[in-house]
Chain length 431, copies 2
Amino acid sequence: MTMTSKAVILAVGSEMLTSTRHDTNSLFITEVLNQTGLDVAYKAVVGDNLAELRSQVAHALSRHRVLILTGGLGPTDDDLTRDAVAAQLGLPLSEDPALVDAIRARFATRGLPMPEVNRRQAQVPAGATVLHNPRGSAPGLMIEHEGRVIAMMPGPPREMQPMMSGPVRERLLQFAGDVRLMRRTIRITGRTESRAEEIVQPVYTTWLTQVPPIETTILATPGYIELHLSTQVTREADGAAALESAVAQLADRLGADMVSPDGQSVEHVLGEMLRARGWQIALAESCTGGLATSRLTDVAGSSDYVERSFVVYSNRAKTELLGVPPPLIAEHGAVSEPVARAMAEGALARSGADVAVSITGIAGPGGGTETKPVGTVWMAVALASPRETRTLLCRFLGSRELIKTFAALAALDLVRRRLLNAAWDVDWAKR
Amino acid sequence: MTMTSKAVILAVGSEMLTSTRHDTNSLFITEVLNQTGLDVAYKAVVGDNLAELRSQVAHALSRHRVLILTGGLGPTDDDLTRDAVAAQLGLPLSEDPALVDAIRARFATRGLPMPEVNRRQAQVPAGATVLHNPRGSAPGLMIEHEGRVIAMMPGPPREMQPMMSGPVRERLLQFAGDVRLMRRTIRITGRTESRAEEIVQPVYTTWLTQVPPIETTILATPGYIELHLSTQVTREADGAAALESAVAQLADRLGADMVSPDGQSVEHVLGEMLRARGWQIALAESCTGGLATSRLTDVAGSSDYVERSFVVYSNRAKTELLGVPPPLIAEHGAVSEPVARAMAEGALARSGADVAVSITGIAGPGGGTETKPVGTVWMAVALASPRETRTLLCRFLGSRELIKTFAALAALDLVRRRLLNAAWDVDWAKR
């Protein structure tokens, strides 16, 4: 089996195997590993169990050169990281007298004697480097063994982070040589995952054989399709140029479907467009219940362009606040093109904004009919100048919350497309 | 090596090996595994890499009888879970024609042709059971092989969860025997984690020595403090009675601070209260930008009691829509007690609702001052009968999004407390 230049992250602690707790250390560790040019091969959470822990250490080192462990360095019997690593590597453990003194001194500053159990924390595998811990009693350990680097750090983030971004990072920088990992995230709206794949596949396959090669993964999230590009380079300028060229090729193929070349949200991108024009926006929401406005105001500084929003959940509110004529609702229903149009135009007229968007639909789970099933949503975008309104019928699938999420995002995206004068042939539109 | 009756969870997807993304599916899966009496041996996140994935499958099955995989069942070339498991177990893959039809039918409901790449999702390893997926195109798969159970499910939580809590759970229940793990989640608002701990600690410590014993963990989430009670029993009735008695003791000590004895949200509980009274609610939101209304309308059937909401982001909107006098804003500022009061009273008068709540504050990161720092939020609750308005000044800490989240939840909770005639001495109030 060949060895990779990738890293494995093991978080040790049974509490992280319950249904309410996460391992969060691995995110910080990943960030530092990436900075040194190392990718993460996999990461695992393992309980306080010697056999399981040894088996994980063996498996990681059989394939990869870098192993980062956090947790399990405390003073009690269920802190087994030191023992598992030493046993698996066949390294004897012995007490480091200087370390005992340091731990004792730490207790003394709090006016406490050192409990005898804490002597365990002074056990050091033969040949290991001690990583000092000014913020806790558990020292870290770093071992070089048969071409691998193994780092063990305490679990509390404030104790782990200075070790990881200090001595461990220093050591790994030598390891990786000059290689750096660079990434870009491209966000796409209006396409299903497989449609997006069909569009971008012809270009991204060519990147694998270029120098430097770029790897691409495609990911569906609620509302977006994301492309994750990554490349490993020795010169940052080479990576930046390769990624820039890749993004330009994607922009060419994707057109208005590419919301952002750097992972920004629709609300952020739309906000920048409104700000650049000095425009104000108003919203009229029914089935989304304020969610579109809330997303838009998640962006700092959005008070510069969000004028107001009417959440017109009842028909009475649609009439009183937006001037939607009751006969229009009676004839076509609240979820209809004429009502969506009247809502957007009413919001525009009554707010004095430059653009308004309306959303009226059936979020479910009840309220659907044969002709208007759950997930049916009408939207309209009205502009003040030129005075023009465009509408779109959408059909979303999923739970109530998901339909709200899709509809809110789609409505903001529709405003973005309108400002770009782009076509509305999105995949969620109902034909 | 002996085999355990523990489970391994593998989340598949390179995006979860970056520094910004989590695997969250494993929490839900752990919950269901625990219900069936199974513990988690370890869990891992592995990228879209065939060699790595095969190595993980081999390692898991060498020691454990249950393997749950999520993700990597999509239609594209980097979706490798099916291939890795089939290859590792030596099972041939073949296309299931009925599955192709089902996937094609799913696209057809959205008026789309099935892209050819989606045929990959109809590949089934020999002997596997197909787990149908009404919420997406990727079916799940379950395999019984040499005394092990292997389940593969799609990555999106809404698609995975029904499979895990349905057919996978059913199968695993046979595995685990008689012991059942039972849980209750209690939600608390208005208290810090340490205050909540002080209040409940005297009762929960007594539960550890009773029969059956109840274990309690306390968890802070944005807006709530949660108590997670769990007990292992052979007779379900014993567990139910013990948990019921524990919840009654907590209700006694917590009073109105206990929002829900069974994990329900404030928006759900408040909705039930409004429905029981036949009341309509109106909202007037400034800094929360519609988020409180959106949360309230996340509950199915909320159109029965949500009348409308005014998202009055600009001062002009506050005046035009709610009748807040401009001199009041000029004198006290938009974030002030008189403006919060005028907003709630304006929303009540102009909607004809029975109760109205207003929120005006500084979500940040800009806009804070010495006397009104970021996180300062005024709220008011106005009742139609008896005609009365109460206000509260809050101070929240955190990012813009977190302040919006806290403020929206606190405002809904304040209406709940008002309807209960409970005291407003919440820990987030600024004294």
